[in-house]
Each structure stands twice: as structure tokens, then as C-alpha cells.
């Protein structure tokens, strides 16, 4: 059997592919964070809870209203995005003039409260959510058995990331957004309603987290802690990519997924730490992040 660094080649390819799949989640989550930070200057620590709410909303639509996965994919980002809009209007909008730390503390607290409420209501052990029948089964790739659903997650994440990048970099709306980031009063003077744009941007970032939650529901157990475990890594991704950089969060998201996958082959015990080691190195060598502007 062919071996690379003492690891059978099929296993290595398999792990690379899995890394890509996990990277898809990291990219999707960090994209939402980057969009929110880029425009609002808010470090959104509620993101993990909003990801979890997305998964729970998908479960509720199925169990309570009989609406399947595809409906959830459309409705959940709208519903959870709307809760984000309410949160921004009621609370976050009051903090823009203050230091970053206030936004961080507020969103962190709100995240803990949401998680606590879901734990009280649904318990901690999680709820089952089945893979939609259209995406069940697996392809035999020769070197590994590839579940169709995981392939779908990668494709969906890539499409979403690309669409978001195009929206922000190539459209008129995106140009307004970027301009407002640079100089909000000037953009407002041109007749653009900046506060409303800011609110909708937050809602959009939250909707991205919610879609991530729907995509994750059939793979992981739907439970109140599911976002907490992910959010810490995702923050490291954003820091490595450069706070607020769209392309940075996409590339680092996929890249770190692959690095983590390889660590799981060579030294499983370190797999949870490797992302943070890279983060420390990047912070020392390039404090603004790989794609950030100092």
C-alpha cells in the first residue's frame, strides 16, 4: 500500500476531504462574524447560540409544523435573521459609540442566556434530526466512503461564501456597505439610510449562522451546547484571517479545517489546540491577520 509519512495514502486523502468539510462550517460561521465585525465593529459572541438556534428551528419546523429540511433551509435564516434584527435594534445599537469590549460582553451574555433557556426547555442530551431522503446514502470513492450529505454541505457552503463575497465586493449595495465602514457620516450625507443598513447587515450575519445550524442539524446531535464548542475555533479563524476580512475568513476557514484534519491523523490529542497555536504565531508575526490591513 502507498504510504505518505507512514500514513496509508487513502487515509490521508480521506482526512483531507474531512478537513475540507469541517472547514466549510468554519468558513460559513467566520464569514458571518467577519461581515458583522466589518460593518458594526461588534465582536458577535452570540454567533454560536444563533447557530444552535438555527438547528433547533429546523427541528421545530419538522416536529411541530411538518415542514421538511428544504423548507427549513429557506425559512430558518429568515426567522433567526429576524431575531437578530430585533436584538440589534433593542440592544446592540446602543453600544456603537462605546469600546469593543462592551459589545463583546453584551453578546456573550445574551449567548449564555439563550443557551440556558434552550437547555431548560429541551434538556442537554440533544434531539434527533434525520438526513433528508434525497441526500441519504454515500459514494464509494475508492479511498473512502463519502456520505452524500457531507458533499452537499461543502457545495452549499462554497456557494454561500461565493455569493456573499460577490454581494459585498461586486454590487452597488456592497459598495454602500464598504463605504459606510470607511466613513458612515459621509455615506449618510449622500442619502443612504446607514442605521437601517447596519441593522440588516447584522440580520444577514445571523442568518448565515442559522443556515450553518440547519446544515449541521442532520450531522450532529441538535443540542444547546452545539454552538459553544464551535464558536471558539471560529473566533480563532477570524483572528487568523484578519478581523473583518471576507476573503480572509473564507480562505482561513477551509485552510484551518484541513490543518486540523491532518493533525487528527498525526497527533489526535493536539487536534483541539493546533488552531490556537497557529493563531498565536499569526498574532506575533502579523497582528492584523493573514488578510487584514494593519
Amino acid at each position: 500500500m502507498d504510504e505518505i509519512f507512514g500514513i496509508p495514502a487513502p487515509l490521508l486523502f480521506g482526512q483531507l476531504l474531512l478537513g475540507l468539510i469541517n472547514g466549510a462550517f468554519y468558513a460559513m460561521m467566520s464569514l458571518g462574524l467577519a461581515v458583522i465585525f466589518g460593518l458594526l465593529n461588534i465582536i458577535n459572541f452570540t454567533h454560536g447560540a444563533q447557530f444552535m438556534m438555527g438547528a433547533f428551528a429546523a427541528w421545530m419546523l419538522l416536529e411541530w409544523l411538518g415542514l421538511n429540511y428544504w423548507w427549513a433551509l429557506v425559512l430558518v435564516p429568515i426567522i433567526i435573521g429576524f431575531t437578530g434584527v430585533v436584538l440589534e435594534r433593542l440592544m446592540i445599537s446602543r453600544l456603537y459609540k462605546l469600546d469593543h469590549i462592551y459589545g463583546l460582553l453584551l453578546t456573550f451574555g445574551v449567548g449564555l442566556i439563550i443557551e440556558g433557556i434552550f437547555r431548560n426547555q429541551f434538556g442537554s442530551s440533544g434531539l434527533p434530526y434525520r438526513i433528508p431522503p434525497e441526500l441519504q446514502g454515500a459514494w464509494d470513492l475508492g479511498f473512502m466512503y463519502m456520505p452524500i450529505y457531507r458533499g452537499w454541505v461543502v457545495v452549499a457552503a462554497l456557494v454561500l461564501c461565493l455569493a456573499t463575497w460577490l454581494l459585498i465586493e461586486k454590487t452597488r449595495l456592497g459598495a454602500y456597505l464598504r463605504a459606510a465602514t470607511e466613513n458612515a457620516p459621509l455615506v449618510q450625507a449622500f442619502g443612504v439610510n446607514v442605521p437601517r443598513m447596519v441593522t440588516l447587515t447584522y440580520g444577514f450575519g445571523v442568518a448565515l449562522a442559522a443556515i450553518g445550524g440547519v446544515l449541521a442539524a442532520p450531522i450532529y446531535s441538535v443540542n444547546p451546547q452545539m454552538g459553544t464548542n464551535l464558536i471558539i475555533v471560529v473566533f480563532a479563524v477570524v483572528v487568523i484571517g484578519g478581523m473583518g476580512s471576507i476573503i480572509g475568513s473564507i480562505v482561513t476557514g477551509f485552510g484551518l479545517g484541513i490543518v486540523e484534519g491532518l493533525t487528527k491523523v498525526f497527533w489526535p490529542e493536539a487536534s483541539a489546540t493546533v488552531v490556537f497555536v497557529i493563531m498565536a504565531i499569526v498574532l506575533v508575526a502579523r497582528p492584523a491577520g493573514l488578510f487584514g490591513r494593519a
Binding site: Y145, N223, S271
Partner: protein, 409 residues
């Protein structure tokens, strides 16, 4: 105004008298009251398998025990799965006159509280913790380990799978004390039966949510059995992943610690065919069904899980011992109370007849179950089919092998 002020003064005086009288009357009452504190995971990953359910079943034990000339008070607290928090609560409660602590899931917390109960000469009735060290090197004359332990799980599930031809094993293990103990105990049984261990992947706990990389490694090991030395959500995510990647077609999946709540969360579709071991299942016999009937409405309309059922059995037996020896004597010495528990034969609706050994190990049968297919399940909690019963005297580690100092002396 003056009248109002006078009223206020009078009210203040009354309140002061009341607060003076308060503790005195509580103390007078306390002499004839047994206070039992449930310390459990009320907010973390083990909440659904222990926590509030353990409180409900403890209260049920008090109710079923009935009025026999002394009062019983039940308190509850959340240890957050942290040994320091658990130890602080236990210390404070013992100083405030709590006589026994119950449940204590999470092995690290249980071992910490074990020391304090001994130091303060109180009673530690453990149902939730898995580590077999509680009746081994760390055994205590103040402790009864009631429900299950890593040795029992490993022996029942591990041996059954080797017998079915699963003679080569790969483990996915939570990288902390509990996972290591479960892997070690299971490996010993597999080797003793002539099987071999191909390898293991130890994943960071609790920071891991995606297990696919470890599953792929397990697959490439070409072992016949994949053992999960972990618990709760991690096990559920592992099994979901194993099905997704088609591992169940090549390997036998062995969940070494799993209960009804986990199976419910996994769903029968993914869980069918799994072998697992429990000491209690609500639908086991007439008595377990009768107990379930009594508590179901109070327990969020769910049948009791294994660990809460253990709290029921342990508390009921403790109260019988208190009644037998008298409240004053039981409160005076935890060692004496546990000694009386060991001297009396046990019998309750959850576990049936049994005994408590010198090392504190409660002895009752272990049951090997197979998870039903969705078509074979007749109601939402009809989850298991009984495969084998290990009698009490074979289910747990032999007394002489445990290295418990109480036994040697």
C-alpha cells in the same frame, strides 16, 4: 405619621423576634429530621441522565418510605461537573447539618466529595459516577456505590461482543480519567477472552464535536469492533457519524456507556442493533413498571433513567437503615449508618433484592440490552430488548481484586 412609625417599629420588633425564634425551632425540628442533599449536574451535558430526574426519584423514595416517626428533607444543588464546586457544596452542607449526599455523577467530582464525606463522617450515596475506583483504591466506610461502574459495563458489553466473534477492537476514547478507565477495563476483558486491541484514538474532551476523522482511522484499522469509551452527546455523535460513513457495515459498534436518554436522542433508526448494559430499565418487570407509573407524571412524563433509579434505591435503603438504628445514632456517625446499610439486605422496586459489600459496592444484576428496530418498538419509550442477565455475584469486580483498604484490614 407617628402611628405609622410606631407600626413600623412594632413590625420590626416582630420580625426580629421571629428571626430569633426561627433557627431555634429549626434546630429543635432538626434533631428529628434527616436531611438528604442531591448533588448533581443540573445544567451541563449529564443533566438529562441525572440532575432533575435524580431529585424527583429521591423525593419518590422519601414518599414511598412513608412516615415512620421522623421527617426527611431533600435539598438539591448543581456541581457543574467541577470537583471544586461539588466539594464546596458538600462541605457547606455537611457543616449545616446535612446527613447524606446523593447521586454525584462525574467521576472526578465523586472522588472529591468521597474524601469530604469521610472527613466529616457523613454518608455518600453514589449513583451517577462510573469510576470503579470508588470501591477500589479510594473506597471509604462512608460510601455506598449503588448503580453501576466501569468494570460492570466493560464486562457485560465487552464480553458479550467478543463471544459474538468480535475479537479485534479499536477504541475512540474521551481523553480524560473516565474514558481511560473505561478503555482500560474493556481492553482487559477483551484480552482475557482471547481478543486483541488494534489501537485507539483519544480525542480532546470536551472540545470535540466532529468525530469523522477518528471514525475514518478506526475504519482503516480493519478491527472488527469499534468501542466508544465516552458518554452522552459524544457517543451519540460518534454513532451518527459511524452510520453516515457506513462503518456499521464493516464493524460492530459497541457503546460502552449509553442509556435510554441517549438512545432517545440518537433515534431508533440510527441506534437499532446496538448492544448496551444497564442496571435498570423501566420496562424490565412488574416492579419497575409500577415505579415508573408512580413517578412518570412528576418526571416530565418520562420513565426514570438508570442513575435516578439508583438514587431511589440508595435513598430508600438508607432511610430503612436510619429507621432501624434510630435517627440520633444515624446522624451521629456516617460510618455507623453505612455499616447498618451493609448489614441489612436491600430490596426495592428498581433493583429488586440485593446486598452491599464490605467495600461499599451494591450488588445487583447487570442487564445486556439490544436496541430495538423502529418497527419493533410499540411506544415512544419502548427501546430495548433484553439479551442477557449477569447475576449480581458475577456482574461486579470480585471483592479481592479491588485493592480496597477496608477489605484488606
Amino acid at each position: 405619621m407617628a402611628i405609622q412609625r410606631r407600626d413600623l417599629l412594632a413590625a420590626g420588633a416582630a420580625a426580629a423576634t421571629a428571626s430569633l425564634a426561627g433557627p431555634r425551632s429549626a434546630r429543635a425540628q432538626a434533631a428529628n429530621t434527616i436531611r438528604i442533599g442531591v448533588i448533581s449536574d443540573m445544567s451541563g451535558p449529564y443533566r438529562d441522565t441525572t440532575g432533575p430526574g435524580s431529585v424527583v426519584l429521591t423525593q419518590q423514595a422519601v414518599q414511598d418510605f412513608g412516615a415512620r416517626g421522623f421527617a426527611v428533607e431533600v435539598l438539591q444543588a448543581d456541581h457543574q461537573n467541577r470537583p471544586d464546586v461539588g466539594a464546596n457544596i458538600a462541605r457547606q452542607w455537611f457543616d449545616q447539618g446535612v446527613d447524606a449526599v446523593v447521586d454525584l455523577p462525574t467521576s472526578s467530582v465523586a472522588l472529591a466529595v468521597n474524601q469530604i464525606a469521610r472527613e466529616k463522617n457523613k454518608v455518600h450515596l453514589n449513583s451517577g459516577a462510573a469510576t470503579s475506583d470508588l470501591t477500589g483504591p479510594q473506597c471509604s466506610p462512608n460510601t455506598v456505590h449503588w448503580t453501576y461502574d466501569t468494570y460492570m459495563l466493560a464486562k457485560s458489553t465487552g464480553a458479550a461482543i467478543v463471544k459474538q466473534g468480535g475479537n479485534s477492537w479499536y477504541f475512540i476514547t474521551a481523553d480524560y480519567a473516565f474514558g481511560h478507565a473505561l478503555e482500560r477495563d474493556t481492553s482487559n476483558f477483551v484480552r482475557a477472552q482471547g481478543g486483541r486491541i488494534v489501537g485507539s484514538a483519544r480525542y480532546p474532551f470536551p472540545a470535540t464535536t466532529d468525530f469523522s476523522a477518528f471514525l475514518l482511522q478506526a475504519q482503516s484499522s480493519r478491527a472488527k469492533v469499534l468501542g466508544f469509551a465516552n458518554a452522552s452527546t459524544d457517543t451519540v455523535n460518534c454513532i451518527k457519524g459511524a452510520r453516515e460513513f457506513g462503518l456499521h457495515r464493516q464493524m460492530k459498534l459497541a457503546a460502552l456507556l449509553m442509556g435510554v436518554v441517549d438512545i432517545k436522542s440518537l433515534g431508533l433508526e440510527s441506534g437499532q442493533g446496538l448492544l448496551l448494559t444497564e442496571a435498570f430499565y423501566w420496562d424490565l418487570n412488574e416492579r419497575t413498571r409500577a415505579l415508573t407509573q408512580r413517578v412518570r407524571a412528576k418526571n416530565q412524563d418520562r420513565p426514570p433513567a438508570m442513575v435516578p433509579a439508583g438514587c431511589y434505591g440508595a435513598v430508600l435503603h438508607y432511610l430503612k437503615a436510619v429507621a432501624d438504628m434510630g435517627v440520633a445514632a444515624a446522624r451521629a456517625s456516617g460510618v455507623d449508618a453505612v455499616g447498618r446499610m451493609k448489614a441489612m439486605p436491600c430490596d426495592d422496586d428498581a433493583f429488586g433484592p440485593g446486598t452491599i459489600r464490605a467495600d461499599g459496592r451494591k450488588i445487583h444484576p447487570g442487564y445486556l440490552f439490544e436496541v430495538k428496530a423502529p418497527g419493533a418498538s410499540t411506544n415512544p419509550w419502548d427501546l430495548y430488548k433484553l439479551v442477557a442477565t449477569t447475576p449480581g455475584d458475577e456482574a461486579f469486580r470480585p471483592l479481592a481484586e479491588g485493592q480496597c483498604p477496608l477489605v484488606r484490614s
